[in-house]
Protein backbone atom coordinates (compact mmCIF):
# COMPACT_ATOMS: atom_id res chain seq x y z
CA UNK A 1 0.00 0.00 0.00
CA UNK A 2 1.19 3.46 -0.71
CA UNK A 3 2.23 5.58 2.19
CA UNK A 4 0.45 8.87 2.84
CA UNK A 5 2.85 11.74 2.30
CA UNK A 6 4.04 13.92 5.13
CA UNK A 7 2.56 16.90 3.32
CA UNK A 8 -0.90 15.36 3.42
CA UNK A 9 -3.37 14.98 6.24
CA UNK A 10 -3.93 17.15 9.29
CA UNK A 11 -2.57 20.65 9.42
CA UNK A 12 0.91 20.55 11.01
CA UNK A 13 1.27 22.80 14.02
CA UNK A 14 4.82 22.13 15.22
CA UNK A 15 6.31 25.14 13.48
CA UNK A 16 9.55 24.65 11.60
CA UNK A 17 10.08 23.69 7.99
CA UNK A 18 7.31 21.09 7.58
CA UNK A 19 4.70 23.58 8.74
CA UNK A 20 6.11 26.19 6.39
CA UNK A 21 6.11 23.66 3.57
CA UNK A 22 2.46 22.77 4.24
CA UNK A 23 1.35 26.39 4.04
CA UNK A 24 3.61 27.10 1.07
CA UNK A 25 1.94 24.30 -0.95
CA UNK A 26 -1.42 25.92 -0.32
CA UNK A 27 -0.51 29.57 -0.79
CA UNK A 28 1.59 28.99 -3.91
CA UNK A 29 -1.11 26.59 -5.15
CA UNK A 30 -3.76 29.31 -5.01
CA UNK A 31 -1.50 31.70 -6.95
CA UNK A 32 -0.61 28.97 -9.47
CA UNK A 33 -4.26 28.29 -10.30
CA UNK A 34 -4.37 31.70 -11.96
CA UNK A 35 -0.78 31.92 -13.19
CA UNK A 36 -0.64 28.43 -14.72
CA UNK A 37 -4.13 28.20 -16.20
CA UNK A 38 -4.03 31.67 -17.75
CA UNK A 39 -0.59 30.81 -19.15
CA UNK A 40 -1.96 27.61 -20.69
CA UNK A 41 -4.88 29.46 -22.29
CA UNK A 42 -2.62 32.19 -23.69
CA UNK A 43 -0.06 29.79 -25.15
CA UNK A 44 -2.30 26.97 -26.39
CA UNK A 45 -5.75 28.44 -27.07
CA UNK A 46 -5.76 32.14 -27.93
CA UNK A 47 -2.41 31.66 -29.68
CA UNK A 48 -1.52 28.36 -31.29
CA UNK A 49 1.79 26.86 -30.11
CA UNK A 50 3.04 27.11 -33.68
CA UNK A 51 2.85 30.89 -33.27
CA UNK A 52 4.60 31.16 -29.91
CA UNK A 53 7.74 31.91 -31.91
CA UNK A 54 10.80 33.99 -31.13
CA UNK A 55 8.98 36.92 -32.76
CA UNK A 56 5.97 36.37 -30.50
CA UNK A 57 8.19 36.45 -27.40
CA UNK A 58 9.98 39.54 -28.71
CA UNK A 59 6.68 41.43 -28.91
CA UNK A 60 5.40 40.11 -25.64
CA UNK A 61 8.56 40.91 -23.69
CA UNK A 62 8.43 44.54 -24.79
CA UNK A 63 6.09 44.71 -21.82
CA UNK A 64 8.10 44.16 -18.63
CA UNK A 65 5.01 42.98 -16.73
CA UNK A 66 4.91 39.80 -18.86
CA UNK A 67 8.48 39.12 -17.77
CA UNK A 68 7.37 39.60 -14.17
CA UNK A 69 4.37 37.32 -14.75
CA UNK A 70 6.54 34.60 -16.26
CA UNK A 71 9.15 34.93 -13.53
CA UNK A 72 6.51 34.56 -10.81
CA UNK A 73 5.13 31.48 -12.58
CA UNK A 74 8.64 30.05 -12.94
CA UNK A 75 9.58 30.67 -9.33
CA UNK A 76 6.37 29.49 -7.66
CA UNK A 77 5.89 26.43 -9.89
CA UNK A 78 9.53 25.37 -9.52
CA UNK A 79 9.59 25.75 -5.72
CA UNK A 80 6.14 24.15 -5.33
CA UNK A 81 6.98 21.26 -7.66
CA UNK A 82 10.48 20.60 -6.31
CA UNK A 83 9.15 20.75 -2.75
CA UNK A 84 6.59 18.17 -3.85
CA UNK A 85 9.39 16.01 -5.23
CA UNK A 86 11.15 16.33 -1.86
CA UNK A 87 8.03 15.03 -0.07
CA UNK A 88 7.78 12.13 -2.54
CA UNK A 89 11.45 11.20 -1.96
CA UNK A 90 10.93 11.37 1.81
CA UNK A 91 8.00 8.98 1.38
CA UNK A 92 9.59 6.31 -0.77
CA UNK A 93 13.36 6.37 -0.19
CA UNK A 94 13.98 4.63 3.12
CA UNK A 95 17.76 4.30 2.88
CA UNK A 96 19.38 7.31 4.60
CA UNK A 97 22.34 7.57 2.27
CA UNK A 98 20.23 7.48 -0.86
CA UNK A 99 17.77 9.93 0.63
CA UNK A 100 20.50 12.42 1.47
CA UNK A 101 21.96 12.01 -2.03
CA UNK A 102 18.64 12.49 -3.82
CA UNK A 103 17.55 15.41 -1.66
CA UNK A 104 20.87 17.15 -2.33
CA UNK A 105 20.34 16.55 -6.04
CA UNK A 106 16.86 18.10 -5.82
CA UNK A 107 18.33 21.13 -4.06
CA UNK A 108 21.06 21.62 -6.63
CA UNK A 109 18.67 21.08 -9.55
CA UNK A 110 16.23 23.61 -8.09
CA UNK A 111 18.98 26.22 -7.94
CA UNK A 112 20.26 25.41 -11.44
CA UNK A 113 16.83 25.54 -13.10
CA UNK A 114 15.89 28.68 -11.19
CA UNK A 115 19.06 30.40 -12.40
CA UNK A 116 18.64 29.23 -16.00
CA UNK A 117 15.02 30.38 -16.12
CA UNK A 118 15.69 33.69 -14.42
CA UNK A 119 18.66 34.50 -16.62
CA UNK A 120 16.63 33.71 -19.75
CA UNK A 121 13.72 35.94 -18.70
CA UNK A 122 15.86 38.84 -17.49
CA UNK A 123 18.49 38.95 -20.23
CA UNK A 124 16.27 38.35 -23.28
CA UNK A 125 16.99 41.12 -25.83
CA UNK A 126 15.37 40.35 -29.19
CA UNK A 127 17.36 40.76 -32.38
CA UNK A 128 15.98 43.85 -34.15
CA UNK A 129 14.44 42.00 -37.10
CA UNK A 130 12.27 39.99 -34.71
CA UNK A 131 10.07 43.01 -33.98
CA UNK A 132 8.82 43.31 -37.55
CA UNK A 133 5.57 41.38 -37.53
CA UNK A 134 4.55 38.20 -35.79
CA UNK A 135 5.24 34.88 -37.43
CA UNK A 136 4.23 31.30 -36.98
CA UNK A 137 6.56 28.38 -37.53
CA UNK A 138 5.74 25.40 -39.69
CA UNK A 139 7.15 21.93 -39.62
Amino acid sequence: MLRISSGYGPRPTGGGFETFSWYFFRVSGVALIFLAIIHLILMHVTTDVACTSYQFVAHRYQNPYWRLYDWLLLTLALLHGMNGLRVVIDDYVRNRGWRLFLLSLVGLATLAFFLLGTITIVTFQPVASALQGASCVTH
Partner: protein, 119 residues
Amino acid sequence: MWSWLLHRVTGLAVLLFLLVHIVDIGLLSFGPDVYNEGIALFSTGIVRVISLGLIASVLYHAFNGVRIILIDFWPRGARYQGIMFAVVMIITILCFLPMAYFVVAPIFQPGTSAVALPM
Protein backbone atom coordinates in the same frame (compact mmCIF):
# COMPACT_ATOMS: atom_id res chain seq x y z
CA MET B 1 -6.84 7.56 -2.03
CA TRP B 2 -7.16 7.61 -5.81
CA SER B 3 -7.55 11.36 -5.76
CA TRP B 4 -4.32 11.58 -3.77
CA LEU B 5 -2.41 9.22 -6.08
CA LEU B 6 -3.62 11.15 -9.12
CA HIS B 7 -2.65 14.43 -7.45
CA ARG B 8 0.87 13.10 -6.87
CA VAL B 9 1.30 11.66 -10.36
CA THR B 10 -0.05 14.76 -12.12
CA GLY B 11 2.12 17.03 -9.93
CA LEU B 12 5.25 15.08 -10.87
CA ALA B 13 4.26 15.02 -14.55
CA VAL B 14 3.78 18.77 -14.62
CA LEU B 15 7.11 19.23 -12.82
CA LEU B 16 8.86 17.09 -15.44
CA PHE B 17 7.36 19.25 -18.16
CA LEU B 18 8.37 22.42 -16.32
CA LEU B 19 12.03 21.32 -16.29
CA VAL B 20 11.94 20.56 -20.03
CA HIS B 21 10.19 23.88 -20.60
CA ILE B 22 12.83 25.89 -18.72
CA VAL B 23 15.45 24.37 -21.02
CA ASP B 24 13.50 24.98 -24.25
CA ILE B 25 12.80 28.58 -23.23
CA GLY B 26 16.54 28.83 -22.58
CA LEU B 27 16.99 28.42 -26.35
CA LEU B 28 15.76 32.03 -26.68
CA SER B 29 19.27 33.11 -25.76
CA PHE B 30 20.59 31.46 -28.94
CA GLY B 31 18.53 33.53 -31.36
CA PRO B 32 15.44 33.15 -33.56
CA ASP B 33 16.57 30.22 -35.71
CA VAL B 34 17.49 27.95 -32.83
CA TYR B 35 14.42 28.87 -30.80
CA ASN B 36 11.92 28.53 -33.64
CA GLU B 37 13.31 25.12 -34.52
CA GLY B 38 12.46 24.04 -30.98
CA ILE B 39 8.95 25.49 -31.28
CA ALA B 40 8.41 23.66 -34.57
CA LEU B 41 8.88 20.44 -32.61
CA PHE B 42 6.12 21.47 -30.19
CA SER B 43 3.64 21.94 -33.00
CA THR B 44 4.07 18.45 -34.48
CA GLY B 45 1.09 16.14 -34.18
CA ILE B 46 2.75 13.79 -31.69
CA VAL B 47 3.80 16.53 -29.31
CA ARG B 48 0.35 18.13 -29.58
CA VAL B 49 -1.22 14.88 -28.44
CA ILE B 50 1.31 14.55 -25.61
CA SER B 51 0.56 18.11 -24.54
CA LEU B 52 -3.06 17.06 -23.99
CA GLY B 53 -1.70 15.03 -21.09
CA LEU B 54 -0.01 18.13 -19.71
CA ILE B 55 -3.21 20.18 -19.96
CA ALA B 56 -5.33 17.49 -18.31
CA SER B 57 -2.70 17.12 -15.56
CA VAL B 58 -2.55 20.83 -14.79
CA LEU B 59 -6.35 21.14 -14.72
CA TYR B 60 -6.89 18.12 -12.46
CA HIS B 61 -4.02 19.07 -10.13
CA ALA B 62 -5.24 22.67 -9.86
CA PHE B 63 -8.88 21.83 -9.14
CA ASN B 64 -8.05 18.96 -6.82
CA GLY B 65 -5.63 21.33 -5.07
CA VAL B 66 -8.59 23.59 -4.34
CA ARG B 67 -10.44 20.55 -2.99
CA ILE B 68 -7.50 19.73 -0.68
CA ILE B 69 -7.44 23.32 0.56
CA LEU B 70 -11.21 23.26 1.20
CA ILE B 71 -10.87 20.00 3.14
CA ASP B 72 -8.16 21.67 5.23
CA PHE B 73 -9.77 25.03 5.91
CA TRP B 74 -13.52 24.69 5.41
CA PRO B 75 -15.05 23.13 8.56
CA ARG B 76 -17.44 20.98 6.51
CA GLY B 77 -14.82 20.22 3.84
CA ALA B 78 -14.08 16.68 5.01
CA ARG B 79 -17.78 15.78 4.97
CA TYR B 80 -18.17 16.86 1.35
CA GLN B 81 -14.83 15.56 0.07
CA GLY B 82 -16.48 12.80 -1.97
CA ILE B 83 -18.90 15.15 -3.68
CA MET B 84 -16.07 17.62 -4.23
CA PHE B 85 -14.03 14.91 -5.95
CA ALA B 86 -16.88 14.37 -8.40
CA VAL B 87 -17.09 18.12 -8.96
CA VAL B 88 -13.31 18.27 -9.56
CA MET B 89 -13.58 15.55 -12.21
CA ILE B 90 -16.50 17.25 -13.94
CA ILE B 91 -14.84 20.68 -14.01
CA THR B 92 -11.57 19.13 -15.20
CA ILE B 93 -13.32 17.44 -18.11
CA LEU B 94 -15.42 20.50 -18.96
CA CYS B 95 -12.33 22.71 -19.12
CA PHE B 96 -10.24 20.08 -20.87
CA LEU B 97 -12.52 19.45 -23.85
CA PRO B 98 -12.54 22.93 -25.42
CA MET B 99 -8.82 23.42 -24.74
CA ALA B 100 -8.06 20.03 -26.29
CA TYR B 101 -10.03 21.03 -29.37
CA PHE B 102 -7.87 24.11 -29.96
CA VAL B 103 -4.65 22.15 -29.42
CA VAL B 104 -5.54 19.25 -31.69
CA ALA B 105 -7.55 20.97 -34.46
CA PRO B 106 -4.47 22.44 -36.24
CA ILE B 107 -3.24 18.89 -36.93
CA PHE B 108 -6.14 18.47 -39.34
CA GLN B 109 -6.06 21.92 -40.92
CA PRO B 110 -2.42 22.86 -41.36
CA GLY B 111 -1.88 26.46 -42.31
CA THR B 112 -5.26 27.75 -41.17
CA SER B 113 -4.61 27.15 -37.52
CA ALA B 114 -3.77 30.15 -35.58
CA VAL B 115 -3.56 33.85 -35.38
CA ALA B 116 -0.68 35.19 -33.36
CA LEU B 117 -1.80 38.00 -31.12
CA PRO B 118 1.26 40.08 -30.27
CA MET B 119 0.96 41.37 -26.75
